[in-house]
């Protein structure tokens, strides 16, 4: 194959890969579910500290912002990678969970000093972590 044609072919392959249009594999979905579980579990720890006044507002606000961004990215990635058959239902569930975790982290980010909210979010995160854990099995 001439050099120029090879370069074009490589560029097309790279562009197709970069479009994010590929279908989601079972392993990739499992990885994403594990990441959601991890973020929700970490949210539980941060919320527990905030509810018990054992942390600082600045830390809670900044750290939940980073965690929330990561959850939102997973939600977006799952939304743009369709899966086939029964896997698609799991993908949608994972996408929904990622969105819930991101929303809860955002609430903690906005009002880090609200101990009542933090206590409520703690149990919410725990449920989300459990649901994501089941999804990753």
């Amino acid at each position: 194959m001439p050099l120029r044609a090879s370069i074009w072919l490589a560029l097309i392959v790279l562009a197709a890969a970069g479009c994010g249009g590929g279908t989601l594999s079972r392993k990739a979905l499992q990885k994403q579910a594990e990441s959601i579980q991890s973020l929700a579990a970490e949210g539980t720890l941060v919320a527990k500290g905030a509810a018990g006044d054992r942390t600082t507002d600045n830390f809670v606000s900044v750290h939940t912002d980073y965690l929330g961004e990561a959850a939102r990215k997973i939600e977006k990635d799952l939304g743009s990678s369709p899966a086939t058959g029964s896997l698609d239902a799991k993908r949608k569930e994972a996408e929904r969970l990622a969105g819930m975790v991101a929303d809860d982290l955002d609430r903690l980010h906005r009002t880090p000093g609200n101990r009542g909210l933090a206590a409520a979010l703690r149990s919410s995160f725990a449920k989300e972590a459990e649901a994501a854990g089941k999804l990753s099995k």
Partner: protein
């Protein structure tokens, strides 16, 4: 008291090398993935860096020649220049990552925006480096980094299974995920023996005008300093194994590392952890900034040294200022500091033989070393570690690719 201050060089070199921004997250990730199973790798790394730093310090104290002098002389201009370029790329990546890490910690403390804090971190390093004498830089950052000992206190409060912790010091293979385990083992070894530690340490020996009379001090510095660095690595890994592994948490952020002290010790633990991380990461930034300037100066034969006024070593001074400015540009581009330093660790592993082979050769050369030449013990360990270094250098990048940077 003065004896305590005299080990600041080893502590700063070790804290910069063992618990910089990437190592903090890497050690925590290793613990969260494999529990205590990788503790033995840290021991192997600590002994290796003690063996080679002792040699570097001895060579510098006896011959007044730091590492890069030896590299250029023993490897010749061509290969030496290759070593210079590769080490400077890694230095710059690491420096940029550390500056970003300082800004992240300042953000976690203040909730101010990240990018302006990067500028604050760079200006802070520049001012301290310009104004403070070498000894005070060592003391401020080396001893400030000791706030990280809060993780050791946290470990006690977390009540880990001490039997499993003890078992982690026995060399083993993981029951699952062999390649990912190997990637973390190679990364931990590389982080422990990262070349900028010895560039900084051996140049520091010349900065402090050590002579053969100070060889005992050299030994104390490397054993206490690197021993402490290893101890902090253990504490981080055990914290992650006890706290994050059971909950399936995959640490990716500096804040997650600090959470490891907040959960057992509350707000005080959190603040001490953040302060410790700030000084450790700041120390690593200064290590890498100076190492870069030292390497250029020693390779090209410029006047160098913090003990001189900036006008007495102008090209050395310009070198560290330029490196700091370049690091600012790199980190301002929006690159993730944690990921950047993890890449830097793996790439630095590839350059390890180019750093350590010349050290072993010079430490065996009677022309330079006279009666302070390597003994049988130093050579046995030196050769053993050379084999380990070569294996690690050959496997680092393939493992990084195959395991998707440890993600499996």
């Amino acid at each position: 008291m003065s004896k305590i201050f005299q080990i600041a060089l080893g502590i700063l070199a070790a804290i910069g090398g063992f618990v910089d921004i990437g190592d903090l997250v890497f050690n925590t990730e290793a613990g969260a993935k494999f529990g205590y199973e990788l503790l033995w790798v840290v021991v192997v790394g600590v002994v290796g860096i003690i063996v080679y730093s002792e040699m570097c310090g001895r060579v510098a104290a006896v011959s007044k020649r730091p590492v890069f002098d030896a590299i250029r002389e023993r490897l010749g201009f061509g290969v030496g220049f290759g070593a210079l370029v590769s080490s400077q790329i890694v230095n710059l990546m690491t420096l940029a990552a550390e500056v970003g890490g300082m800004a992240l910690v300042l953000q976690l403390l203040s909730a101010l925006p990240y990018r302006p804090l990067i500028v604050v971190a760079v200006v802070g390093i520049a001012v301290v480096t310009w104004l403070a004498p070498f000894e005070w830089i060592e003391r401020i950052f080396g001893y400030g980094g000791l706030c990280l000992l809060v993780f050791a206190v946290g470990v006690i409060k977390l009540h880990p299974d001490w039997g499993s912790v003890g078992h982690g010091f026995v060399p083993q293979m993981s029951a699952s995920g062999h390649l990912v385990y190997a990637y973390f083992a190679v990364g931990l070894l590389g982080a422990a023996m990262t070349p900028y530690e010895v560039y900084f340490y051996s140049s520091g020996v010349v900065e402090e005008s050590w002579t053969p009379k100070d060889l005992g001090l050299n030994r104390a510095n490397v054993i206490i300093g690197y021993g402490l660095g290893g101890f902090l690595s253990f504490a981080l890994m055990i914290t992650a194994g006890a706290l994050f592994l059971p909950q399936g948490i995959e640490p990716q952020f500096v804040g997650t590392v600090a959470l490891g002290a907040q959960v057992p010790l509350g707000a005080i633990g959190l603040l001490l952890a953040l302060l410790g991380i700030f000084f450790a990461v700041g120390g690593a930034a200064i290590d890498t900034c100076f190492s870069g300037a030292y390497n250029f100066a020693q390779f090209f034969g410029w006047e160098w040294g913090k003990y001189r006024r900036p006008s007495g070593a102008p090209r050395f001074t310009i070198a560290w200022i330029v490196l700091l400015a370049l690091a600012l540009v790199v980190i301002m581009s929006g690159i993730d500091p944690v990921m950047l330093t993890e890449y830097a660790v793996i790439f630095s592993v590839v350059a390890l033989p180019l750093t350590y082979i010349p050290i072993l050769l010079v430490a065996n050369d009677r022309t330079y070393m006279g009666r302070y030449v390597n003994g049988r013990l130093a050579n046995t360990f030196g050769l053993l570690y050379l084999v380990i270094i070569v294996v690690v250098a050959l496997t680092a990048i393939p493992l990084m690719i195959v395991t998707n940077q440890g993600q499996g």
